[in-house]
């Protein structure tokens, strides 16, 4: 269904939602965009051409969360009570929502679903705002997403000037807009042309034909060393990435808790074994893992790239390693070396 929501009415809509749920929306704090609790009167950052700095995946997979608590009396680990109240994430960008849909394939699986992810996912409604003017670092259309992608969303807003066109995709999304006037053909037409224009504004960042096969073939290439020379091996490109999901499990004995923390294949100790052996001993193997996971292994798992083109890793890499340029270089690297043991 499609509705028309005049911009003047947004505040009232959010106010109504906030009575039932926690509502989070992008706002500026510390000089950058963050998802913060919505309160009447706050200034929203909906026109910023890009995303929040910290990815909203943290709403579903917090960077640190208590998995289990330790019962000293029984000498046993127990599942903590997880109270998650309904939440609406308003203003999430389509690339970030697409990433949530990707992460569902990891955590909301048939076999061994992750109960923490599912509990949060069920309580979380994602209302997107499409991107009329994607940033120069965005490349969603190159990786199978788009500035108005629906994946993972319950509804999406398109800014059509005086009003938003609201399109709903799920029952719970639909329920949030009951009572709004339905969009007129004119609004929808306007939205379509804005959407098309936004999409047309993005040019292919790298060639994706055969990308997976090609990467598989250059697994042993020296190209990875070239990237690794400047790479710091920090956590930025993966922690800020909306699709990265790696985690560590550690015991915090002083708090009687078993905790999971985000982890990343870019860290040396991630793959370091007790014997001292490290299958990825240098930044070259680690950089390769990051790119191979996103652009090869994900294809085998979900038949999609594990990158939604949000551009965060491009913007925040402290040594300017631009994943788009890396993939262009990868594509230009001849595949004479075929891996085999």
């Amino acid at each position: 269904m499609a509705y028309r929501l005049p911009k003047k009415g947004l505040d009232q809509t959010l106010r109504a939602w906030a009575e039932q749920s926690k509502v989070f929306a992008p706002q500026k704090r510390e000089g950058y965009a963050q998802f913060l609790p919505w309160k009447a009167g706050v200034e929203l950052l909906l026109d910023e051409p890009h995303n929040t700095r910290f990815p909203p995946k943290a709403f579903l997979l917090p960077q640190s969360e208590t998995l289990l608590t330790y019962n000293r009396k029984l000498n046993q680990l127990e599942t903590p009570t997880l109270q998650i109240s309904p939440r609406i994430i308003f203003g999430i960008r389509p690339c970030d929502a697409h990433a949530v849909a990707l992460l569902d394939t990891v955590f909301a699986t048939q076999e061994n679903p992750d109960p923490y992810w599912r509990a949060r996912r069920e309580q979380t409604i994602l209302i997107g705002v499409g991107c009329n003017q994607p940033a120069t670092t965005c490349f969603c259309t190159s990786v199978g997403s788009s500035p108005f992608d629906h994946a993972g969303l319950d509804a999406i807003f398109t800014d059509i000037g005086e009003a938003y066109l609201v399109e709903t995709f799920t029952e719970r999304g639909e329920a949030l807009f009951a009572g709004l006037p339905q969009a007129e053909a004119n609004d929808e037409g306007q939205a379509r042309s804005i959407q098309q224009q936004a999409e047309a504004g993005l040019t292919p960042a790298f060639a994706t034909d055969n990308l997976k096969d090609h990467l598989d073939q250059i697994f042993d290439s020296s190209l990875w060393n070239e990237f690794a020379q400047s790479c710091l091996g920090c956590g930025i490109c993966t922690f800020l990435c909306p699709t990265c999901f790696c985690f560590d499990i550690v015991d915090e004995a002083q708090r009687d808790e078993r905790v999971r923390n985000w982890d990343t294949c870019m860290f040396r100790i991630y793959s370091l074994e007790a014997s001292g052996h490290n299958p990825r001993p240098s930044r070259a193997e680690r950089t390769r893992q990051r790119l191979m996971h996103k652009f090869s292994y994900w294809i085998e798992h979900a038949n999609q790239f594990g990158c939604t083109g949000c551009g965060r890793c491009v913007r925040y890499c402290p040594v300017g390693l631009d994943i788009r340029a890396m993939l262009r270089k990868a594509a230009a690297t001849p595949s004479e070396v075929v891996h085999a043991n």
Partner: protein, 286 residues
């Protein structure tokens, strides 16, 4: 409560140490036999268990470690592990005494594809503490009910020294069995050692098991595996009849934490047992 809605795959099953004893004279290897606190957990475990699988053993405060199951289901209502002392968790495991509580998650991973091996000769090749899951396999096939499913059985097991040989008394008794052939080896000669001396790959070449209607299973330290696999290929074993069990650092054991991937496969979920044919199609990232 979460548990009301979903099973929590991160929650260890409560267990107790039934028996704990050193396996090696240098006390670096210790065997733990664990019993279940709750009968329903025991049933659930043995419904799923298959030799070749592993569990996450958990000592609260230190963490979890993946360890291969070293017992067969018919041996009793316990689960056996042999633990090499390495870092934080394995040291804590070594301190455990009979009666101590412990957490266990599992069985995890695929285990050996026993149903595909029906009717075949088995060549079981192990080295070091990685022999633990092969011990489980051997115990499994030795059971009178399972034995007819397999043809000839050859076990080749190497350790650095006799003091490091695991499951000594039991393996000694295997020499008396007529339904299998046993070859033990140590790296350098010792007095009173009556078996092979040399590295496992060389012993394999010496024993030269026939590849006809046979599968070979290799578990050992990386260096042993590296040289044994080509030796088997040379003997004529096709890549899809050679199996090995892989190790990588692990956390979740469920294919979620991302840590143990080898190409697009997660060793914890899609493995740890792979055929050489499968491995040949995966990148060398181990």
């Amino acid at each position: 409560m979460l548990t009301n809605t979903y099973q929590n795959p991160y929650l260890p099953t409560p267990m107790h140490v039934l028996r704990a004893y050193y396996e090696s004279t240098d006390r670096t290897l210790k065997t733990l036999e664990l019993s279940f606190d709750n009968p329903q957990d025991r049933l659930a475990f043995f419904r799923k268990f298959n030799p070749g699988q592993f569990c996450q053993l958990s000592v609260f405060g230190k963490g979890e470690s993946p360890l291969g199951v070293a017992s067969a289901a018919w041996e009793g209502d316990f689960v056996r592990f042999t633990v090499q002392k390495m870092g934080a968790v394995t040291k804590a495991l070594h301190r455990l005494q009979p009666g101590d509580p412990i957490g266990m998650r599992g069985p995890l991973g695929n285990g050996f594809p026993l149903s595909k091996w029906k009717g075949k000769n088995l060549v079981i090749i192990g080295g070091g503490c990685a022999f633990s899951t092969l011990y489980a396999l051997t115990k499994h096939v030795q059971h009178p009910q399972n034995r007819p499913d397999f043809g000839q059985i050859i076990v080749i097991y190497g350790a650095r020294s006799s003091g490091l040989c695991m499951y000594k008394h039991d393996i000694q008794s295997w020499y008396q069995r007529e339904d299998m052939e046993v070859h033990q080896a140590i790296d350098v000669p010792e007095e009173d050692w009556m078996h092979h001396v040399g590295y496992v790959p060389d012993v394999v070449k010496e024993v030269a098991p026939s590849p006809v209607n046979a599968v070979a299973v290799v578990c050992g330290p990386p260096i042993m595996t590296k040289f044994t696999l080509p030796a088997l290929v040379q003997l004529g074993f096709p890549p899809d009849a050679i199996f090995t069990s892989l190790e990588k650092r692990m956390k979740c054991g469920l294919g979620k934490c991302g840590r143990c991937n080898l190409g697009s496969k997660y060793i914890c979920k899609d493995g740890p047992v792979f055929s050489l044919a499968e491995l040949n199609a995966l990148p060398a990232d181990i």
